[in-house]
């Protein structure tokens, strides 16, 4: 598995017109992720999406460092993004090409010079995830579950070491979210998963509870989820 390290990594954002000059999105955080399945849980706006986006440089740390397998994300962003794939909540933002096959081909542009090789590799990827039938469909006509699976196939086509997924099941119905969850948990890659699905979080090897821009609990998923439930119950 890969080693994702945060060394005093924090994120602040300027707030024009606000009371203070800047708002702290993530307080300086130090942690090391080496487990195969890591869940990030916490309320909306807690900073877990920001934390997830630090791992491949989508959000840059304003203080401290983020290091993936010895590569500093701030300086080696390109190499890090080759290793760390990212899946978004809303797959329609992620599917940027008109048809399913073309979208997967887009990921492979760097890996295969020839168009035929790219197409073959993309078809093989789609077949691997059981999506071969959808290859020539317009991404606009897919169901929500199909869209998320195609989006996953698109980012996994390049065979990254790590997949970071930001609430990948939030927009899906029960059957589709179960299907996406099974797909994610069955991947050979290391998976870091921001999620509101606490059952899914409990099936991971480690969970982090993020609240108000801080990691307030970290460890065994069952214990972390229990802590999260207790905290919510206490504020009611």
């Amino acid at each position: 598995m890969s080693r994702i390290e945060l060394v005093d990594a924090g994120v602040t954002a300027p707030t024009p017109g606000g009371e203070s000059d800047e708002v702290v999105v993530l307080h300086p955080t130090t942690l090391e992720l080496t487990e195969r399945r890591v869940a990030l849980v916490g309320p909306n706006g807690s900073g877990k999406s920001t934390l997830a986006r630090l791992f491949n440089g989508l959000v840059a740390a304003t203080t401290g460092r983020v290091v993936v397998d010895g590569l500093d994300v701030a300086r080696k962003g390109r190499e890090v993004r080759r290793r760390v794939a990212f899946a978004f909540t809303d797959p329609s933002a992620q599917l940027v090409m008109p048809t399913v096959l073309e979208d997967v081909v887009l990921s492979l542009r760097r890996h295969h010079r020839s168009k035929q090789a790219r197409t073959d590799a993309a078809l093989a990827t789609l077949a691997h995830y059981g999506l071969a039938d959808l290859a020539h469909r317009s991404v606009h006509t897919l169901s929500g579950g199909q869209r998320q699976l195609v989006a996953l196939a698109g980012v996994l086509a390049t065979d990254p070491d790590v997949l970071v997924a930001d609430e990948p099941t939030t927009l899906l119905d029960l059957a589709n979210s179960a299907l996406v969850a099974e797909t994610l948990l069955g991947l050979p890659q290391q998976v870091v998963l921001a999620t509101h699905d606490l059952d899914l979080a409990q099936r991971c090897d480690r969970a982090l509870l993020v609240t108000d821009g801080r990691v307030v609990a970290d460890g065994d998923p069952a214990a972390v989820v229990a802590e999260y439930r207790a905290r919510v119950a206490a504020t009611r």
Binding site: F86, A93, L95, V96, L106, H140, V155
Partner: protein, 204 residues
């Protein structure tokens, strides 16, 4: 929703038109467009219309798909025909509307027989001379695909925003409809940029 299907219209097939390289088809379409401007006569429009119908048959374009494309056009072409007949007589109206209609049909043949990917490859090749001015041809091609992909998304957002305005009884207030639409389109553009960034598209 005719426009949502304008693109992603590709129907896999084995006709002569399917096997023709995308560059030849695009070039042919461009040449025929030029003909309508240079030889602006009713005979030209009639010829083009006949050619378009012949090519639709050769490409075996599905009737349902064709009807969807036509449904979006009929209103506009009808208005144009009425205006031209009134201003310049029926012959001129046929020349203009016939040429326009046949070009749309020919473009339909192109989108049905050619995967968008191949059209974008042609655009990328054509943009290659721009390389020396620092404009990367792949990015030009990518911009075109994003535009094509963007059309159904913007239509979908427009539908959702209109429904949301109607649900609150604000359908007569253009601000209640346009403001959220613009904001959501920009938000979607940002999300797309983030997704491209995550996939390393801008990195190489």
């Amino acid at each position: 929703m005719s426009a949502t299907d304008l693109f992603g219209a590709y129907q896999p097939g084995r006709s002569v038109l399917h096997r023709l390289p995308a560059g030849a088809k695009l070039g042919g379409l461009a040449a025929l467009s030029l003909v309508t401007v240079v030889a602006r006569r009713w005979e030209t429009s009639l010829g083009l219309l006949a050619l378009a119908v012949a090519l639709l048959l050769v490409a075996r374009v599905r009737v349902r798909h064709l009807l969807r494309v036509l449904r979006g056009l009929v209103g506009m072409l009808g208005l144009l025909a009425a205006y031209q007949s009134w201003q310049r007589g029926p012959e001129q109206a046929f020349t203009v509307v016939g040429a326009l209609g046949s070009l749309v049909l020919l473009a339909t043949v192109l989108t049905v027989t050619t995967p968008v990917d191949e059209i974008i490859d042609v655009i990328t090749r054509l943009a290659r001379p721009l390389d020396r001015f620092g404009l990367r041809p792949e990015l030009v091609g990518l911009a075109f695909s994003l535009m094509i992909r963007g059309i159904p998304i913007v239509l979908e957002l427009a539908r959702e925003t209109r429904q949301a305005a109607r649900a609150r009884g604000l359908e007569r207030n253009p601000r209640a409809y346009l403001t959220p639409l613009v904001i959501r389109v920009v938000a979607h553009a940002r999300a797309t940029g983030e997704a491209l960034h995550a996939r390393g598209v801008g990195d190489d």
